[in-house]
């Protein structure tokens, strides 16, 4: 048994996958672990993230399985699940075992396999949450015209959200704050549509982010809020009222940061 201990980052997990192949380990006897739990009779390797190696894995995954499946893998790796690295590793191994070209767009087709199924489920639930947040995220305008949004996603979705909104608002300065993780994505209008950075992290850095965004709201912000509340109040048809359906489609935990509730 070979245990590769990774950090919970895309780079670290991809580096581990590269090293399994590089060091010619028997694929079935490898475990990618994100926890610190010791295992009996196992040879342990500490993985340090390596840009070159992980980059190679990214290129291979894109070439062999296509962008869509690569994106799914990234979604699966945003989940808060200690076994996600192993599930993704097994999925990739089963895909790479196919001959060149046979796995294109088909990485997640072998759902009969428990590990593939697990990776697929993680990816699907992260993807769904991302779709929800793309709709349910609410920005508020700060004094100098910048936009600020808060969210507490279950999965670590900030990179996906930033990409979506950077494409949508190329001419805005905005900041999305992941309150639970203490990180934030910042987009500047001067730097073009694709330019954004992630800041913050665990502990002090995260606290600094929270402190930094305590700015005053712009003058018109409250006015537009009340307009939108009025709109949401009027648009429902009273004769069709169905609160249970509303709660099904828009679960309560999203409503914490939403303007209209």
């Amino acid at each position: 048994m070979y245990v590769y201990r990774c950090e919970d980052t895309l780079e670290s997990i991809f580096t581990a996958i590269y090293r399994v192949y590089e060091e010619h380990r028997p694929k079935d006897e490898v475990l990618l672990a994100l926890d610190e739990e010791p295992r009996l009779f196992a040879e342990e390797m500490i993985v340090t993230a390596d840009q070159e190696r992980s980059g190679k894995v990214v290129r291979t995954l894109c070439r062999r399985f296509g962008m869509e499946d690569y994106e799914r893998i990234c979604f699966a790796l945003t989940a808060e699940d200690v076994e996600k690295a192993q599930a993704v590793y097994r999925t990739v191994v089963s895909g790479l075992a196919l001959r060149e070209g046979a796995g294109y767009g088909r990485l997640f087709e072998g759902l009969g396999d428990a590990q593939v199924c697990k990776a697929f489920k993680l990816a699907r639930s992260a993807e769904r949450e991302c779709c929800h947040l793309e709709g349910f995220l609410r920005f508020e305008e700060l004094e100098k015209g910048a936009l600020y949004a808060q969210a507490e996603p279950k999965n670590n979705l900030l990179p996906f959200l930033m990409a979506h909104f950077a494409d949508r608002f190329p001419e805005e300065n905005f900041l999305i704050h992941d309150v639970g993780r203490g990180i934030a994505g910042v987009h500047y209008r001067q730097t073009g549509p694709e330019a954004w950075v992630l800041i913050g992290g665990k502990g002090e850095k995260g606290a600094a982010v929270t402190k930094g965004v305590e700015a005053a709201l712009s003058e018109s912000e409250l006015y537009y809020r009340s307009l939108f509340r009025r709109f949401c109040g009027e648009i429902g048809i009273r004769e069709r009222a169905n609160e249970a359906l509303q709660r099904n489609l828009l679960p309560l935990h999203f409503r914490k940061y939403m303007t209209e509730f």
Binding site: R106, E109, G110, L111, G112, D113, C117, C131, E134, G135, F136, L137, R138, F139, E140, E141, L147, A149, F165, A166, D167, R168, F169, P170, E171, E172, G192, P193, S220, Y224, S226, L227, F228, R230, F231, C232, E234, I235, G236, I237, R238, E239, R240, A241, N242, E243, A244, L245, Q246, N248, L249, L250, M258, T259, E260
Partner: protein, 450 residues
């Protein structure tokens, strides 16, 4: 008009949202457009829902009327000429400002603009066109826009508007020409179908233009849709479904929406609905609509002249399946995709996954559950490697009893469908109270398609 001028945006928004809410179409799908430097917004093909209203319908677009003044007198409509309701009118700048500010805060996915008829259809259409032009050019809005084409408006204005918007729709209002004559004396079937045909032709032509010149301006790239009111006149489900089918086939519509009739006016020609709007009927129509578009069913398979209404207890697919037991059971590991689609409890997604997953291994019931098949409905109709999940009989009465008993539990239980909604089917011409209906229906379904 002088009074209208003094009104605040807040009041206008209240009046014109209230007037627009009976319009159903609120999808923001069908267009994939990336953001542009210097502009605001992009479009996502799947559409994005930004919120959900108290009635459970999605809020995706800023759904408002340009004005609720109207020269027409349609009997079902709140904004008809003869109603004494507060009237308001937005200026184009107000609409643009609202759209931009809401969009920046991620409240909405775009704008849905409809209008009452002021002066003439062409004049109204010009007002809409001017507003959208302003929004697209001066305000640099690159998000989703859906507008209503006004029946009877000049073709050229509709064409120009088509190049600015993502989706256009013309409301069919009522499924048959007779119904339209009775309830909307100022509207004519011919006038409604003419712009629909024009938009269809425009889209077809545009498709070949874009094929040659990649940067040719797009015309209504999200396709067109329409909506029908269900339950205001006495058409049956079979007629409505046939109309929908021919709209999909002959006019290449993206969507047909059904809206359960809500009685907002007191009028002797409108039906009285003691149980509220016919929501269950609307629900069944949507289910059948999906079967037409994604499952390869035809309207004639689901209903017939002799059996013109949907079953209250079973959904249209279950209803079809128990009537065609000679097609079942279906072997999961071998049946073609089209056959899998016809099994109750298997949807498009799970059918695709089954076809993909069975390439690498033989599937059993445990796998099916993971793939997303609803086994409690599917188990009567499928086998895995020749075995059924439980020993079940392939008999109509037995299966109907099993399916409906479970249905009962679900419907009267936890998920919000209430007992009251069952009685909504009354207005479709069934007599008696709900209890009698369901017992009678149950008996009917148990006895087959009497």
């Amino acid at each position: 008009m002088a009074e209208v001028g003094k009104m605040s945006v807040m009041e206008k928004l209240k009046i014109l949202t209230d007037a627009a809410k009976y319009d159903v179409a609120c999808t923001s799908s069908g267009v994939d457009r990336r953001g542009k430097a210097g502009k605001l917004g992009n479009c996502v093909a799947a559409g994005i829902c930004h919120s959900f209203a108290g009635d459970g319908r999605c809020i995706s677009l800023l759904k408002i009327l340009l004005t609720n003044e109207c020269i027409y007198d349609c009997k079902y409509c709140l904004n008809r000429r003869s109603n004494d309701v507060p009237r308001a009118m937005f200026t184009p700048e107000e609409i643009c400002e609202l759209t931009i500010q809401f969009y920046r805060r991620n409240y909405i996915e775009g704008l849905f603009l409809s209008s009452g008829i002021v002066q003439s259809p062409t004049f109204t259409m010009e007002l809409i066109c001017r507003t959208i032009y302003l929004l697209r050019t001066k305000y640099g809005f690159n998000g989703y826009i859906h507008v209503k084409a006004i029946p009877g408006a000049d073709g050229e204005v509709i064409r120009q508007t088509g190049f600015l918007v993502d989706r256009m729709s013309v409301n069919l209002e009522l499924p048959t020409a007779d119904g339209l004559r009775n309830l909307a004396p100022n509207k004519h079937r011919k006038n409604i179908l003419a712009p629909m045909r024009q938009i269809q032709n425009g889209i077809t032509q545009n498709r070949s233009e874009v094929a040659v010149y990649r940067h040719a301006p797009a015309f209504v790239s999200g396709g067109q849709s329409t909506q029908m009111i269900v339950g205001a006149t006495n058409e049956n489900d079979y007629q409505i479904l046939n109309v929908a089918e021919s709209l999909y086939q002959k006019f290449e519509l993206k969507r047909v929406f059904y809206s359960a009739f809500v009685r907002v006016n007191e009028d002797k020609s409108l039906p009285v609905l003691p149980g509220g709007p016919p929501l269950l009927r609307e629900h069944r129509l949507y289910q059948a609509d999906w079967l037409l578009r994604f499952y390869g069913f035809r309207a004639q398979e689901l209903l017939s002249e002799r059996r013109p209404f949907f079953n209250v207890m079973l959904d249209p697919k279950e209803d079809w399946a128990v009537g065609h037991l000679e097609e079942f059971p279906v072997e999961i590991n071998r049946a073609p995709y089209e056959k899998l689609l016809r099994v109750p409890g298997i949807g498009v997604q799970s059918a695709r996954r089954i076809v993909a997953a069975r390439r690498s291994c033989n599937l059993d019931f445990e796998n099916l559950k993971k793939l997303g098949v609803v086994l409690k409905r599917a188990l009567y109709f499928i086998t895995c490697s020749g075995k059924m999940m439980y020993p079940t009989k392939l008999e109509e009465d037995y299966i109907v009893r099993q399916l409906t008993e479970k249905e009962q539990r679900i419907r009267f239980g936890s998920d919000g469908m209430t007992y009251r909604q069952m009685s909504l089917f009354d207005d479709a011409g069934f007599a008696g109270n709900a209890e009698v209906i369901s017992a009678q229906e149950k008996w009917q379904t148990a006895m087959g398609q009497l």
